[in-house]
């Protein structure tokens, strides 16, 4: 659904747009309101907005949430600072900042969504929040007593991204094909998608050319990004669980299915190809080339639903007796993270 349609269908008021500014199309919104980008450089009242937009990005980059309590503030400033921030970010093309910004904005919107969902005094707010969730994330949701009710199928589509056990369906109240959630859980369920939605919004923002007055801020963003860009360096070492699995295979011993699954998903996620991985299993006592290739293709998501399988978590591998943790394993939750050192850029 295009965003213009969303805004018109939802009939957003300024307050709503201030809460959910990503529902608008930056360029169009300003035009509709009769503003040009130039005015932000020239107009006395508008000029501070560029500065506020910059702060909004900086706040996000620092992992904080910008003005999530705007009751007393100027709603237009809220909206404009978001839109200008989008323009600046798009222009700077700094991915680290875009990522941080969309996550922070997602969490900011999350707060409003949660509040609106549970606002018993204002039916319209609740309906709007429900409608946003429905339209943006194609999740069929309705309210029943104090619960937000969504179909099991929609729940699974979102919840399988979570590692935490509490999101397993078995730990949910399920009845008659529906899952019952609190407003907090409902909103938490879509955080990732909200984040993706906002960042795709920034990437696809259609911004013709920016006036001189924006250039300085864009440059400032580029140098701000340097501070936050984190280089990850692969030490090239494999985690012990993977080494062990390779060892077992190279000796021609039998590796249980769970071990093969771990090894294959690990290597696929490290970017190895099916053709590179298949020969590793050649030594296995029950090796069958056809079946191995078929299974690898399945894991890599070539078939059907096309989902690439994630590498199992350390917890899972521990429970399967596949973990051989060493001190370097501290603080990681998935073998894929092993040996990844964060070296901040000065």
């Amino acid at each position: 659904m295009s965003n213009q349609i969303i805004t018109s269908v939802l009939k957003l008021g300024t307050e709503e747009i201030a809460k959910y500014p990503f529902l608008t199309e930056a360029g169009n919104y300003l035009k509709e309101k009769g503003f040009t980008l130039e005015q932000f450089g020239n107009d006395e009242d508008l000029r501070p907005i560029i500065e506020i937009a910059f702060q909004r990005i900086e706040t996000a980059a620092n992992g904080k949430i910008f003005n999530s309590d705007f009751n007393v503030k100027n709603l237009d400033v809220e909206v404009f600072s978001f839109l200008v921030a989008v323009i600046l970010l798009k222009q700077s093309a700094m991915n680290t900042l875009i990522k941080r910004f969309s996550l922070a904005e997602a969490r900011r919107a999350e707060k409003f969504l949660e509040k609106d969902l549970s606002d018993i005094n204002n039916k319209a707010k609740e309906e709007l929040a429900i409608k946003i969730i429905k339209d943006l994330f194609s999740m069929d949701i309705h309210k029943s007593d104090d619960y937000f009710v969504i179909p099991v199928v929609d729940y699974l589509k979102h919840a399988t991204h979570f590692y935490e056990q509490e999101w397993k369906l078995v730990n949910r109240l399920v009845d008659n094909g529906n899952v019952f959630l609190t407003s907090h859980e409902t909103v938490r369920l879509i955080r990732k998608e909200l984040d993706n939605f906002i960042s795709s919004k920034i990437h696809s923002a259609n911004i013709p050319s920016i006036p001189e007055s924006f250039k300085k801020s864009v440059e400032a963003l580029v140098s701000l990004a340097k501070k936050f860009s984190v280089q990850t360096v692969e030490t090239g070492e494999s985690p012990p669980c993977i080494k062990h699995a390779l060892d077992v295979l190279s000796k021609g011993e039998n590796l249980p299915h769970s071990g093969r699954f771990m090894l294959a998903t690990y290597l696929l996620n490290k970017g190895q190809t099916i053709e590179e991985i298949a020969p590793l299993f050649k030594n296995a006592p029950d090796y069958n080339e056809k079946i191995t290739l078929y299974q690898l293709k399945h894991l890599s998501g070539v078939f059907g639903s096309g989902t690439k399988y994630a590498c199992p978590s350390c917890d899972k591998l521990k429970s399967e007796n596949l973990c051989f943790a060493i001190p370097e394993c501290a603080n990681i939750i998935n073998p894929l993270q092993f040996g990844r050192k964060k070296i901040p850029n000065a």
Binding site: K157, E166, L169, N171, V302, F303, G304, S305
Partner: protein, 373 residues
Amino acid sequence: MLDKDIKFLEESFKKYYFDHFDLIHTHTNPERREFGYQKFNFGMNRHIPIKSDKELHLLLMTNIPSDVYCSNASYLFPNLPMAEKDWQGADLIFDVDAKDLNLPCRINHVCKKCTTCGNVFLQQNECPDCKSTKYETSSALCQNCIAGAKNEIRKLISILTGDLGIKKENIRVYFSGNEGFHVYVSESNYEKLDSRERAELVDYILFKGALPETFGAKKSDFSKSVFSDIDEKGWLGRTSKQVFGSKSNKPKLSKQLISEGYFSFKKKLEDLQKIIGAQIDPNVTIDVHRIFRLAGTINSKSGLSKILCNDLEKFNPGNDACFIDDDKVTILANCPVEFKLKNKKFGPYKKEQVTVPKYAAVYMICKGYATLA
């Protein structure tokens, strides 16, 4: 398997197929399904397109397969290799196999067939004839195991209809042709789920991964725990019913639970998996590209047919899934257990030549307990 036995089974299967076309139909939307079959002593033929019952019956007559399969998935191009099929969705399927229930009776009816000398024996860990320790197992029909499998099916159906909101009329239960049951859910919005999402459903049905917190346990201060009520929905109610029995027991038993501590409660939940979870085979449900035995066809592990159970309670596989005729056949039987087909008892036979109805001969040859005399 010996050539003469294969020839005999093929003739018997062919006659069954010819006489029972009325029981053997393609799945819904056959043009979207992948079919496959096996012949005795041969591997699997997959990716076969079949568009109608007629084509299916023709394949049965010309190839005389030992086993026939059809995908639960539908594809745009079912006959192309897997990567090009273009997956559209798959019925939700479940497999309950008595083998996985490990009931205590199994020791009395799971026969071992020595792969060295072909002797069939029970219980011992080595072949009494040649002392070899290599053997294959095959289980003879057991009422108790079938009753156990039916019980799992009942649990499964109550979860499917109650928790997952699947309409009863969209659930079909089949006898698998050997020792268990297959369940199909059609026309539900679960069809589009991928493997990972199905794995979550499986854990739900198995009651696997349940956290004590879900049922009211407070880890930080376990004595403050307030456990869920027995009339709550889904697992909350089911678990409490199992733990407390009745509402009136709850206060007393809650105190006891609290005195035993968090980890004991956690352990209790894990132990409940086998009791209140429905014991389904996870792999079958998770695999969205599986070809699954086609209803109406014979299972070559037993010579019995995979058949729809209209009334699960009354269903008796020895009667209701045994369709081979009763012409007399003489075999050399080495069958250490007694079994019942069409209300007749057979065995045990100790390496003896016996003349039995064809259905019993087919059963024993399929099980590896006999060869043609």
